[in-house]
Amino acid sequence: MSTHDPVRFIAKNLRVDLAVIADMIAPGSRVLDIGCGDGTLIDHLFQTKNCDARGIEIDMAEVTRAVAYGLPVMHGDADIDLQHYPDAAFDYVVLSRALQAVERPRAVLRQMLRIGTRAVVSFPNFGHWLVRWQLLSTGRMPMTATWDRPWHETPNIHPCTIRDFFDLCEHEGYVVERWLAADEAGRRSPWRRASRMANLFGEQGVFLLRHR
């Protein structure tokens, strides 16, 4: 297969996770899904919300699967290819569970909010209590259902916590229009107004951003 093995976070309950993201997207909008995999989300957005949804994916086998299914997906790299899109070409740019795997997360976020009016970002939360507990109690890198690869094998080179992400948005001047913490299955966690609680008990964070 390709020498560029997939560098992405593998979601265990993809459909539920993507349903949370799809909820944040208005019908009929133009959407770019970065790291779209086999195109499940863009197909869902076209079928149920009549969106003009397109995708970029780094894993060629996934690209082939998506295009062979009739979905508009191109091979590309979030770190390299976003610069080629014009300003405000999309209403939403989605980065689902891939922020922690890109080389320059800040630059990718900037590009997302340049080419899209809004950005939807989801990432696994490194502040979850089990991660904290494992590091504290064993003194070794955590291994959980979400963080399930040894430190030397993981493609997730930029893990962050929900609080870290709030700080980054503040620093970069992004407005958090909506956010939620969810468990691994994508179910919403009940700590909507308490980011510290969400940071402790949420397995992943989902954010809807726009420029200030």
């Binding site: 062979a68 009739g70 508009p72």
Partner: protein, 412 residues
């Protein structure tokens, strides 16, 4: 003028069939289905051809609202016989893996049109055609090397005349590989509203210096053949078979890959032909790869005209779509609503993936809807013509998706 029976094969009604500026017969191309346009075509070089013929084949049936037409553009040495046995060689069509009933370009569903390019030698006007006199009648001499230089844009303009003549306002898809892919890009740039889906395969938006260099070697081989006779070989009843064969052999290497050559031939030897005059043969043996290339060369000269080869290689060399649009390829596609599929192959060093990616990025800058896939294969540039199941599945799926967006019925 003799009516050509094959023109009556067409299984559709065309309102445009009796346009005064067209006639369906010429003296010099009696064997191929064709149409002749008498209203003149102004070429990019500034010369006007007072009349020109487009030879073409069609497969399948045009539906009632004329929305299921697919134009297939052939490569340098291809022709209109894409999905049927070739009338000269008797070999199967050059893209039977892709075009036909149940194939990715399904002729049960789509009305497929494949024209021979302007400058070609399979019935369309080219260097082999009889040169018209000043009064408009045909002389007894072919154009030869006096045939005006044509460009990819000229080829596409001639194809647009054909689709207009067939009464098709919007093509559902335009598809082609290599030089055919250049034509696809030109179609999408020049007639964006006439192309719903564009599939440029194993191609580029300009011909690279390396590719021009290989073409030049081929052309010099033809010039160096004593039988070329300054391009007027017909006067001596000869063809520059040796030079054209060498040109083909050289080009053929560029269509393959080192890996494929090793896999197919390695260093294996075989007996040299008895009549071999070459002193360098040791023990009467030759390498299998030599024999293969010679076969490719000798079969090619039976079906292709040397002056056409010169004309068409030049057209490819001059192709640079961005240069025609002020230097930025994205401007060629600004505001395009066409859906694109770019496809390339890992071992293709004639039109490497980076050249397709360059086009994909320009389409991104233009805000166009683009799919882009590279297929792993060791078969080199030729892969687009060969059995590549992933490639074929992807073509089929892309066209299926486009048909849904175009509102095409599953059956015409």
């Amino acid at each position: 003028m003799h009516p050509v029976a094959s023109i009556a094969r067409r299984s559709y009604a065309s309102a445009a069939m009796d346009q005064p500026a067209t006639r369906a017969e010429t003296a010099d191309s009696p064997r191929h289905t064709h149409v002749t346009f008498d209203d003149g075509i102004l070429l990019e070089c500034g010369t006007t051809l007072p009349s020109h013929t487009v030879a073409y084949r069609t497969y399948g049936t045009l539906n009632a609202d004329r929305s299921n037409a697919v134009l297939v553009c052939h490569a340098l040495t291809g022709d209109q016989y894409v999905a049927e046995d070739h009338p000269i060689t008797g070999k199967p069509g050059w893209w039977t893996a892709v075009v036909g009933p149940g194939c990715p370009v399904d002729t049960n569903r789509f009305f497929v049109i494949c024209p021979n390019v302007l400058g070609g030698c399979m019935g369309s006007t080219g260097p082999l055609s009889l040169r018209p006199r000043v009064d408009g009648s045909d002389s007894s001499e072919p154009w030869g090397t006096d045939f005006p230089p044509v460009t990819i844009r000229d080829m596409v303009r001639a194809q647009k005349q054909l689709t207009d003549y067939l009464g098709i306002q919007r093509l559902f898809a335009v598809i082609g590989g290599s030089m055919g892919g250049m034509q696809v890009l030109q179609w999408a740039a020049a007639y964006p509203d006439s192309v719903f889906a564009a599939l440029p395969i194993a191609t580029a938006s300009y011909h690279s210096a390396q590719n021009i260099a290989f073409h030049e070697v081929g052309r010099q081989a033809i010039f160096a053949d004593p039988d070329w006779q300054a391009g007027q070989y017909w006067r001596h009843g000869r063809i520059p078979a040796r030079g054209l064969a060498v040109a083909r052999m050289c080009a053929h290497i560029t269509y393959l890959s080192e890996e494929a050559l090793t896999r197919k031939f390695g260093r294996r030897l075989q007996n040299a032909p008895k009549d071999s005059t070459e002193a360098i043969n040791l023990f009467g043996e030759m390498f299998e790869v030599e024999s293969y290339l010679r076969h490719q060369g000798s079969t090619f000269v039976q079906r292709f005209d040397a002056n056409s080869y010169l004309t068409i290689t030049r057209a490819m060399d001059y192709f640079d779509l961005a240069a025609d649009c002020g230097g930025d390829l994205a401007t060629a596609f600004k505001g395009s609503r066409t859906r694109f599929l770019l496809a390339s192959f890992t071992s293709d060093w004639l039109f490497p993936t980076e050249e397709s990616r360059f086009v994909a990025r320009a389409l991104n800058r233009a805000g166009a809807n683009v799919s882009f896939v590279e297929f792993p294969t060791d078969k080199g540039h030729d892969a687009f013509l060969l059995d590549e199941p992933d490639f074929h599945r992807t073509l089929a799926g892309f066209l299926r998706g486009c048909a849904m967006h175009a509102g095409l019925e599953a059956r015409p």
